[in-house]
């Protein structure tokens, strides 16, 4: 097991704009970082919530989209060679002598000297339909993601939603499932046109059943779903038999396991000082939307500032024997060497 442990200076939890810029600021002071994010790509909220939406308050850029800002940051931090670990959520944080051990839900283990929590509004998790009693079915017959397609072999499967996830899993699970029903509130889909086309072909051939409506009730026993009540577009309800339901209603942000890491929290935010942006615990920093302090503004530019100051203190923990001399990238040849421009 020990050879699987990734040893590094810093682990950054969250690959949003602030987490990405932290790679840059840490890099300038010789702190190597690994970055972990629950999403399958960098950008955090910028990538998930508003890739195409304009941001007007990033200094120096009159207007930039969430995706463009992410792409530019990725380019900017390239010289520092940070390693990314996507589609993973940090589950636990343990204290070691002189450092920390973090373990993700995929079993990746990191040992580092400093932890930078740049988790924004928390980790993106699938939205749970607020249907009475749904908790009892979750993980048994109601699933928000597909880990193994085999689990749905020969089952009657109900997929709810009209986005890309709903369409993709309709196409992928149809050959495996005993029957597949797609339920959506309208006959338009906000999904890749090619997937919609394929789905409609499967409906025509009778391999997929498509129904209009919204689930209002779940029926079953002991976590085993037997069917659901659906309110159709005409307001009439009908019963739909199914063994499995997969609701795809997008993602929402939840604080997640950070709450269990033994840090002081104030209304789900991590209080920090405004000098080093360090939490109640030495070596654990919080920057960006997830922290709080008097006067805090949830702005990308504030997060960038926080990353710069955090890096100064992180350097002191990682390189206690080295004195940090403040330098400018414009004039310092050593910084320019790190950036690969000299």
């Amino acid at each position: 097991m020990s050879e699987d442990v990734i040893k590094t200076d810093a682990v950054i939890v969250g690959a949003g704009p602030v987490g990405l810029f932290a790679v840059f600021e840490l890099g300038l002071v010789d702190v190597k970082a690994h970055v972990i994010d629950i999403l399958d790509r960098p950008g955090g909220q910028c990538a998930e919530l508003y890739p195409e939406k304009p941001i007007y308050d990033v200094p120096g850029l009159t207007v930039v989209t969430g995706q463009e800002l992410t792409d530019r940051l990725m380019e900017q931090i390239k010289p520092f060679g940070a390693e990314f670990h996507f589609s993973q959520r940090v589950e636990s944080l343990e204290r070691l002598d002189g450092g920390f051990r973090l373990t993700t839900d995929m079993g990746t283990v990191f040992e580092c000297k400093v932890v930078i929590i740049a988790a924004g509004g928390g980790s993106f998790t699938p939205k749970r339909p607020p249907l009475p009693g749904i908790e009892a079915y979750e993980g048994k017959s109601v699933f928000y993601s597909v880990r193994k397609m085999d689990a749905f072999k020969d089952k009657d499967v109900l997929i709810v939603g009209g986005g890309d996830s709903a369409l993709d899993w309709t196409l992928n699970l149809q050959p495996v499932a005993n029957s597949l029903t797609l339920l959506h509130r309208r006959s338009e889909f906000r999904a890749a046109p090619a997937s919609v086309q394929k789905m409609l072909e499967l409906v025509d051939s009778g391999d997929v059943s498509f129904k209009l409506g919204q689930v209002t009730e779940l029926h079953g026993d002991d976590g085993k779903l037997t069917g659901v009540t659906v309110k159709g577009t005409d307001g009439e309800t009908f019963e739909q038999k199914t063994e499995v339901m997969l609701p795809f209603f997008g993602l929402t942000m939840k604080l997640g396991p950070v709450a269990d890491w033994g840090l002081n929290l104030e209304e789900n935010l991590i209080p920090v000082d405004t000098e080093k942006f360090e939490s109640s615990e030495k070596g654990i920093f919080a920057i960006g939307d997830i922290n709080t302090y008097p006067g805090k503004l949830k702005l990308i530019l504030s997060g960038f500032h926080e990353a710069a100051l955090m890096a100064q203190q992180a350097h002191n923990y990682v390189h206690p024997d080295k004195k940090l001399i403040f330098q400018y990238t414009t004039s310092s040849s050593s910084l320019q060497k790190k950036l690969g421009v000299k």
Binding site: L49, R186, R190
Partner: protein, 106 residues
Amino acid sequence: MARITFIQPDGTENTVDAEPGMTVMEAAVKNSIPGIAAECGGACACATCHVYVEEAWREATGQPEQMEEDMLDFAFDIRPESRLSCQIKVTEALDGLRVRIPEKQF
């Protein structure tokens, strides 16, 4: 100035003053109205500012545009009077607007 009334699922009503030009969601958030999460901050990207517009006001508030209709797919218990409050711009004509807040925003 337009006065907007938010009705909670339990019937509690809160009436707030809104400036023309702001959105109904902004009026709610500014006045700490419970039940309007507005997770994405008004980018029409999260569907957590879902409201039901009272029948009398449906014409004045208009119909959702394509992007909003798409986003409503990610809200719960959608009805014909469903709107995302970040997409309703406040005008003088909406003085007196009444919207109901759903039981859950997901």
